[in-house]
Homo-oligomer: 340 residues x 4
């Protein structure tokens, strides 16, 4: 089986995905999209920077935007460790395997550790952020879909197996994964997690590394549609790229939008599986071939599979198992033929 | 303005759309689809006939299916009048305008009056049905999306203006209508109603007459998705044709499915406008050209606009204002180009 | 049977309950309560008057408040007729039965007809109001529980049978009614309607006439709780008098609040029965004795049964069937003994 | 401050509350209540035993019932540790502090470790259970409120501070706690957790040790009311003891019921705070004195505060800080005086 065994005592304690940082051309337009439609809250905004959090988040930011006239990029993906002591262990671990970690001063965060993972993804670890007010209990202050918190980040990588091997050594586990076809043992995508729901980091085959999307939890179906309705009212209806619908893999009900700079973001419901117990074994799905139970909904646009945000200064490379992309192409052609 | 003035004292009192009757090839497959996914309730089933109602319906049936090995057809559209006396007035009215009404014995219905309207649609009027138990208050007996009741029937007609003129004389009013383009005064579709929400009969330009779909009310977003999820679990996920989404015209949140014989059926939420007051004037929308506020969602498949159920023994005719179909074609091409 | 037969051709066409007018001591406090918690919209506010409507209401007002330093009172209950011509018929009818109708100029309404019904309730009929924007499609503008529209008004009367007899002659019908005990044929309360759901006017035995409450429709359970949560956040949590819960009679899920001047107002969900068809016969319920199916929830406070708003200048009289009040007392004592 | 500092490296790794075991007189009646109303699923039933799990639970049981003609009792509270190795560490830890742990063979569980905590609560630790099918993705198989999983267990203890001190040493943290009065530093109740939401074990002052209730997560408001409606339909409406409502402390929307043997059980919504980050500090609330923001809803019945299930063979002792119970009495009298 291609999924590694869980590592129960990893070298340091990552608790969850923490944040993502993007560049955009117009912070005000970005603020409107995320605050009015998704319901994120501004923690800080100035001429050059915009820091946002969900209504349940006590930490300063889960999305950071820097104004730039360059093409929109993702600058890094943030992960949390439990404590400052764990951060020191992280430094030692990464140094030990030759990854050249470096300390960074990052506003509103405690000590921050930067390192590029073997897939080329720029990571940032921290154990503390400035504490903010939760407005989860203040419906009078909430807007849009009242997005609660960052749930996961999905990444295009050229080799999902390599990503799995690396992150399993850090204590990540996997609940669902997918091969492209029935008789294909190479992994097309995999959901990995540290906190006790199915995803912190999701890896999908594609030109990589690239940032595919981040997902925020919304409390209900009604709030999911409220985001869409408000997007429509504000002339942002075309930002909706896929859904509303339901994933067969990973089970969540979702809608995907593109923000005004094209960064993809998902809104999803919170009734995912609890993933604490070791009894829970990885479930294999197939993109194509054997039909999965529970599939419904219109096929995703090709754009959803192929378009993603490049990381600043990182040139994406082609997929290692290039036959996966041929299977994907056939899958999309077949699904779209069914649904004209 | 192309919308006629309301007729406040029509020749007889139609209260609402009542039922539709289709032929299908396999009653058991039909029953599974409507009962397990939509949550309709069987009022009667035998070798040849299946009568269904919603969980809030006290009348015997709102959908009737007859087993037939012929290609699936719609046999008639039913309308309710308030009382037996109103039914006699209906007879006189239709006879007076030369439409050749005829009395029919129909199981589980009181006296029934059949007539073909000027668009070629076979209608059936009645004032009474056998009384059945409402299971609205019995969540323990409900299934699927707990569909409450038949809300409306949508029909393809070759000339929407002619349909409007005929039905306005029967007391129907119109809340929303659509022209194909900005500078096009011919009506592409119109929502007409007798009960106090926006639709009993909806008319859309198309080869006609044909039965486009009937719509059932479901209590909540959660129930709407429940229908989809159960369709998926039962291997009926491909029956979902369009949505879930929101109509810009007529406002409702919806999902469209095709039943196993291809008859289209909609599930929609119940928070439509109340339409009782004469202050409410028809609102004009455009299929194409000027963007309507509140638009979001993926474009409908071409099939949704072009495919429909023929009426038994009635050969569909081409659309009168054929330029509307060219505008539709351009609209679909443009919308699908945006969303690949 | 104590419920009269439906009158299908009443002397004039009432379409629905329309509005209620109260006095309050502080318009700003009133505005906060109804707009922030219930989500009503201000149509007009000045030093002395406040006019509110629901987010789906196209007519100018469904609740009117006049500033007054006197004890809070209800000034009148409004009903709509279909057209100006029906208003003239109403005048003639009331004059013919000796009720002394009088025309009144009322701001934002068309010609208005005032009359006191035989129970002593001050009524106001109109056929037109100033037209306002519906913000049903504007979730970005909605607040609180997004209350859609006025649904019904409940009134204390000394003799429910007399009220039924009067309003049935005006075309009202009855779906649910209640006797106080198993062997008691006198009616304790009755739900009567003109529009096609179960209630426009509800009559309950009590010192009368008094205004018991008016009910607004909210779209979902989530919105119902949102009203409560926002009431709590604004320090108005004690305004919640009863619920959230479910009525056994009339089926609706509800919460009752008292506004800052003590006027009672209900928020309820919209999935009531459709009541158009004559097949639907009145259902008898019992306050006490035989247990009704579907009962759950904590007993109402005694205040809910006994406290109500007096009509301006009208002294309430005792209940005609005084034994009903003894049964009520026993019922409350028994229910509260079960739930300590 | 009376809340201890978090212990980040506890002696062994408890992951979550796992299960509770009760005695009841009639297993069939118990099964009906939990399966039809709450929507739990039977993992095993025989003449003497009934094992239930939530629709998202992959482990064999979260509630266990043993048939007994004795008065209903709680037999033990179960906790999960991450792995078999952690279970051995648990044994050593408890032995080391003199608590006399003992291994037990328990059906459908891996090796199980029993120990009585210093409060007198019989605990059972395990690392494995028999794996069962999750029916989270099978709405067609779900019933009642589709309860997802056991969330927390609330316990009456005579000294909440002592419980906190003990469980903090095991790695539990505290998000919310309550003192009885404004100037009272003794803790009346405290929410402690290991998994990343606000509660695994809740401790409340009362004759102790006793089992107060266990709480299951339900996906939505609609499902919460569905449980109540089905309870009503099945003649179990009187089992509802408190709510539906919202907690000010701990934020969740809830309803409490008593099962047919009087064991209390809660249904609650899942949008609780995520509690992973160390930035999250304990919040102090007051039962009485200073009003907490966001309070609404009717006061709890006295029974909710005073009645609970005894542990088998354990005689409850009086509360250590007896003045807390006087404050509680005054609080209840005041709240009930407000709400008659």
């Amino acid at each position: 089986m291609p999924i590694p065994a869980p590592v129960l005592y990893p070298p340091f304690n990552i608790t969850r995905v923490s944040h993502a940082a993007h560049t955009v051309r117009d912070l005000e337009r970005t603020r409107e999209f995320y605050c009015e439609v998704f319901g994120l809250v501004v923690s800080h905004q100035d001429m050059d920077m915009l820091y946002l959090r969900g209504v349940d988040e006590v930490c300063h930011h889960s999305l950071v935007f820097r104004r730039s006239d360059e093409p929109p990029r993702c600058e890094r993906v943030g992960l949390r460790v439990l404590s400052e002591a764990e951060l020191d262990k992280a430094y030692e671990y990464f140094a030990g395997i030759g990854l050249a970690p470096a300390w960074a001063e990052v506003p509103y965060q405690g000590r921050s550790l930067r390192v590029t993972d073997p897939m080329g993804i720029p990571l940032e670890f921290c154990a503390r952020m400035q504490r903010m007010e939760r407005i989860y209990d203040r419906p009078d202050l909430q807007r849009g879909s009242s997005a609660l918190r960052l749930d996961h980040v999905q990444l295009h990588v050229t080799d999902v197996q390599a990503a799995l091997d690396f992150y399993f050594r850090l204590g990540f586990r996997c609940g669902d994964y997918m091969t492209a076809g029935e008789h294909d043992e190479t992994i097309f995508c995999a959901f990995t997690y540290r906190k006790d729901n199915p995803a912190d980091l999701v890896f999908m085959s594609g030109q990589g590394p690239r940032f595919h999307h981040c997902g925020y939890i919304t409390p209900s179906f009604q709030d999911l549609f409220r985001a869409c309705d408000i997007a429509g009212v504000r002339g942002l209806g075309n930002q909706i790229e896929r859904g509303p619908g339901r994933h067969s893999v990973a089970h969540a009900h979702y809608v995907y939008m593109r923000d005004p700079d094209g960064h993809r973001v998902e809104l999803l419901l919170d009734v995912w599986h609890q993933m604490l117990d070791l009894e829970i074994e990885p479930v294999r799905w197939r993109l194509f071939g054997q039909h999965t139970a529970g599939v419904w909904g219109l096929p995703a646009q090709a754009a959803w599979f192929y378009q993603a945000t490049e990381f600043a200064g990182v040139t994406p490379q082609p997929v290692r198992h290039s036959h996966q992309m041929h299977t994907l192409e056939k899958y999309l052609a077949a699904r779209h033929a069914e649904n004209r």
